[in-house]
C-alpha cells in the first residue's frame, strides 16, 4: 500500500442468527493483511445494526458473511436501509454459502461482489481494492 493512499475501511458483518464465523474471521484477517481497516461486527446482526454501523463508521465497503441460507431475505431488508442512509454509493460485497442460483438476485439487490465458499482470499481483497476508488 502506498503511504499516501487512504486506508480502505471495511465493515464485515455476520447477518442473521447463524453462528458459523470461521469463514468471516478468516476473511477479516485476510483483509487486515491486505492493509484494510476492518470493523467486524460479531454474530447475529440485524439489517438495522449493519446499516447503523456502516453509517457511523463511514466505511467504504459493506461486506457480509452468510452461511445458513437466509441471505436473500436478509439482503431484501438491508437494501432499503442502506439506501435510506445514502450508503448506496459504497461497495456491497457478500460471501459464504451462496448457491449459484441466488447470485443474480443478490446482484439485483446491489451486491457487486459475490464470493461463494471456495473463493480465494486474494480474489476478495483484490476485488475490493479495484472497486473502491
Amino acid at each position: 500500500m502506498n503511504a499516501t493512499e487512504r486506508r480502505i475501511k471495511v465493515l464485515l458483518g455476520k447477518p442473521g442468527l447463524d453462528g458459523h464465523d470461521q469463514g468471516a474471521k478468516v476473511v477479516a484477517r485476510a483483509m487486515m493483511d491486505a492493509g484494510f481497516e476492518v470493523i467486524y461486527t460479531g454474530l447475529r446482526q440485524t439489517p438495522e445494526q449493519i446499516a447503523r454501523i456502516a453509517l457511523e463508521e463511514d466505511v467504504d465497503v459493506i461486506s457480509l458473511s452468510s452461511m445458513a441460507g437466509s441471505h436473500i431475505p436478509f439482503c431484501r431488508k438491508l437494501k432499503p436501509l442502506l439506501e435510506a442512509n445514502r450508503l448506496d454509493d459504497k461497495l456491497w460485497v457478500i460471501g459464504g454459502n451462496l448457491p449459484a442460483q441466488d447470485h443474480e438476485a443478490l446482484r439485483e439487490l446491489g451486491f457487486k461482489g459475490i464470493f461463494p465458499s471456495g473463493s480465494k482470499l486474494d480474489a476478495i481483497t483484490e476485488f475490493i481494492r479495484r472497486e473502491v476508488k
Binding site: H20, D21, K25, V26, R29, S70, P73, S117, L121
Partner: protein
C-alpha cells in the same frame, strides 16, 4: 501439471504438530512409552475400546443429523431414515429454536425451518416423534443454548407417551462452552450457561439416570480451526469444567461421569485420526481415575460419536465427497466409536436431501455388512506406527491441557476469547496453505476440473410456507392452553433461576403447560442476562 509438488522424503508433520516418520519399528514404540497404556478392550485404560467385544456384540449406532421445516416434515424424514436402516436419531433444530426464539419473533424471520426443524412448544415434539419407538430408537438432540428447555421437553414428551423416565435413554449435545468457541448458538453469559449445564447433569442423575445430558464436542472446535490434538484436549478441559460444577453441587463423580459423552470429528489423515481416538480414550480414563478418583469403569469410558467430517468436504467436485465420506466412515469404524454419522456429499452446499442422506447411511452399512469392520476389536492395534502415534498424540493432548491450565483454564480462556483467537488464527493459516497448494486438497488446489463444469448438486428445497404454518400453530396453542398455568410456571421458573435453585423441575412444569421456547428463554434472560461476544480473531 495438476498434481501437487512433493519432493521425495520431505519432512512430514501431521496437523497436530507431530513428525511422521517413513518407517516405524518396535524401537519407536518403546521410545514413545511402550505398551503401558494399551491394555485390553473393556479394561482400564480402555485405549483399545470401552467394551470387550465391541461391534461383535452390537455395531455402532447410525445417527444421521436430520431435521428441517415443521415437525411434521421432520417426522417424515425420521421415518424414512429408520425405514432405511438408521438405528438412532440426531435432531437438527432451526436457528430460532437453537437460540431460544419463538417462530413469531421478528428476529426469526427468514430462518424458520431452514437449517433444522422449528420447535416452539411440547406439541411440536409430540408431532416430531409420533410413531417412533423411543426405546428402540434413541434420540440425540443437537441443542446447546436452549438445551435445558429442550431436555425438559423431551422428558415431558416421553413421559406423556408412557415411557418410564428412569429407563429412558437419549442424548442432548448441551455443550455450551464449545458454542462460544465455534458454532455460536449461545444465549446467556458464560457462568450461568455452565450452571445450566450443571442443572441438567444434576437433574438427570436423579430423575433420568440413563439419559446422557451432555455430549462434549471437540467437533466444532476442530471445524473452527483446531488441530486434532487440540480438538480432543480442549474437549477434555471443557468436560472437566462441567464435572467440576457437578462436584461442587455435591454429586459424587461415579453418579454422573458415566452419563457424559463426546462428539468428535473424523476428517483428515486416517492414522492421525484413529490414533487421536485411541489416545483420547486412554487419557480420559486416566483423568477420571487419577484426578477424579472415579471407581466405576463406566465413569472412565470415553463414549462418543465419531462423525461428520464437514470441514473436510469441498464445494468443488461435490460427488467426490461421497468417497471422502467413505474414508471418514472407515476412520470412525477403526476408532472404536459408539455412534457414527456422516456429512452427506451435498452438505458443503445445503442440508441433505433424502437421496444424499441415504448414500451416507449406505456408506456406513457397507462397512458393517461387506467390509468386515465389525468382526475384530481394534484391528490396528500392535502396529508399530499406530502404537507410537497413539502414545505421541496422547502426550500432545496432555501438553495442550497443561498449557490451558497454565493460562487460567478453559473457562477463563473462552470468556476472554483467547481460544477463539487461537483457533481462528490457525484457520487462517490453513486457508492460506490450501490456497498456496502447500496443503493438498483434491479438486481445490490440485486435480481441478479444468475441462468441464462440476457436476451440479440437487438442492434440498426450502419451503417458505413452513414459517406461516409454524406461526399459526403456535398461535393456536397459545389460544388453547391454560394461560394461567403458563404464567404460574414461568413465574416459578424465574424465581428458581434467581434463587440459584435447579431450574429443571420448573422447566419441566412449564413445558407441560405448553409454555413456548421463547417464553421460557425470556424468563431466564431476565435473570441471567445475555452473552456479550468478545470480538477477538
Amino acid at each position: 501439471m495438476n498434481a501437487p509438488q512433493k519432493p521425495a522424503m520431505k519432512k512430514v508433520i501431521n496437523e497436530s504438530g507431530i513428525e511422521v516418520k517413513p518407517l516405524y519399528t518396535a524401537a519407536d514404540v518403546a521410545a514413545s512409552g511402550g505398551m503401558e497404556m494399551l491394555g485390553e478392550p473393556g479394561q482400564y485404560p480402555f485405549t483399545r475400546g470401552i467394551h470387550r467385544e465391541m461391534y461383535r456384540k452390537q455395531p455402532w449406532t447410525m445417527r444421521q443429523y436430520a431435521g428441517f421445516g415443521n415437525p411434521a416434515d421432520t417426522n417424515q424424514r425420521f421415518k424414512y431414515l429408520i425405514a432405511n436402516g438408521q438405528t438412532g436419531l440426531n435432531v437438527a433444530f432451526d436457528l430460532p429454536t437453537q437460540i431460544g426464539l419463538d417462530s413469531d419473533d421478528p428476529l426469526a424471520e427468514g430462518e424458520i425451518g431452514r437449517v433444522g426443524m422449528s420447535i416452539d412448544t411440547l406439541r411440536d415434539f409430540e408431532i416430531a416423534f409420533d410413531g417412533i419407538d423411543l426405546k428402540k430408537i434413541t434420540v440425540s438432540l443437537t441443542i446447546n443454548g436452549a438445551a435445558a428447555i429442550l431436555i425438559a421437553m423431551y422428558l415431558a414428551m416421553a413421559e406423556k407417551r408412557g415411557y418410564d423416565i428412569k429407563e429412558l435413554r437419549g442424548t442432548a449435545q448441551n455443550d455450551i462452552l464449545k458454542e462460544f468457541i465455534g458454532r455460536g448458538t449461545w444465549i446467556f453469559p458464560v457462568e450461568p450457561s455452565i450452571r445450566l449445564v450443571g442443572d441438567t447433569i444434576e437433574y438427570c442423575a436423579t430423575h433420568a439416570p440413563k439419559y446422557t445430558p451432555v455430549s462434549v464436542c471437540g467437533y466444532h472446535i476442530r471445524e473452527s480451526g483446531a488441530t486434532p490434538a487440540q480438538e480432543m484436549a480442549y474437549a477434555f478441559s471443557i468436560a472437566k469444567a462441567y464435572a467440576d460444577d457437578a462436584i461442587k453441587r455435591g454429586l459424587p463423580i461415579d453418579e454422573f461421569a458415566g452419563r457424559l459423552s463426546y462428539n468428535f470429528n473424523i476428517f483428515g489423515n486416517i492414522f492421525e485420526q484413529v490414533c487421536k481416538f485411541r489416545a483420547g480414550r486412554g487419557l480420559w480414563a486416566k483423568i477420571m481415575k487419577e484426578e477424579y478418583g472415579a471407581e466405576k469403569p463406566g465413569s472412565m469410558w470415553l463414549r462418543m460419536i465419531a462423525a461428520g467430517g464437514g470441514g473436510g468436504l469441498t464445494f468443488e467436485q461435490p460427488e467426490v465427497n461421497i468417497v471422502r465420506g467413505a474414508y471418514y466412515a472407515l476412520i470412525s469404524a477403526l476408532s472404536g466409536t459408539q455412534t457414527m454419522a456422516l456429512c452427506s456429499y451435498d452438505e458443503a452446499y445445503t442440508i441433505p436431501t433424502e437421496y444424499s442422506a441415504r448414500i451416507s447411511l449406505r456408506t456406513m452399512q457397507l462397512l458393517i455388512e461387506e467390509m468386515g469392520l465389525t468382526e475384530t476389536v481394534d484391528p490396528l492395534a500392535g502396529s508399530f506406527y499406530v502404537e507410537t502415534m497413539t502414545n505421541e498424540m496422547r502426550k500432545k493432548m496432555e501438553e495442550i491441557m497443561a498449557e490451558t491450565d497454565a493460562q487460567g483454564g478453559i473457562v477463563k480462556m473462552v470468556a476472554e476469547g483467547t481460544i477463539q483467537a487461537k483457533v481462528s488464527s490457525q484457520a487462517y493459516q490453513m486457508q492460506r496453505k490450501i490456497e498456496s497448494g502447500e496443503f493438498p486438497k483434491v479438486g481445490v488446489n490440485c486435480y481441478r476440473n479444468e475441462q468441464e463444469e462440476d457436476h451440479p448438486v440437487e438442492f434440498h428445497p426450502y419451503n417458505e410456507d413452513d414459517a406461516r404454518v409454524q406461526i399459526e400453530s403456535l398461535n393456536r396453542i397459545r389460544a388453547e392452553r391454560d394461560n394461567g398455568k403458563v404464567t404460574e410456571a414461568l413465574t416459578r421458573l424465574r424465581g428458581d433461576a434467581a434463587a440459584g435453585r435447579n431450574v429443571m423441575p420448573a422447566l419441566v412444569d412449564a413445558v407441560k403447560a405448553y409454555a413456548s421456547v421463547g417464553e421460557m428463554t425470556k424468563e431466564l434472560v431476565n435473570v441471567f442476562g445475555r452473552y456479550q461476544e468478545p470480538i477477538r480473531f
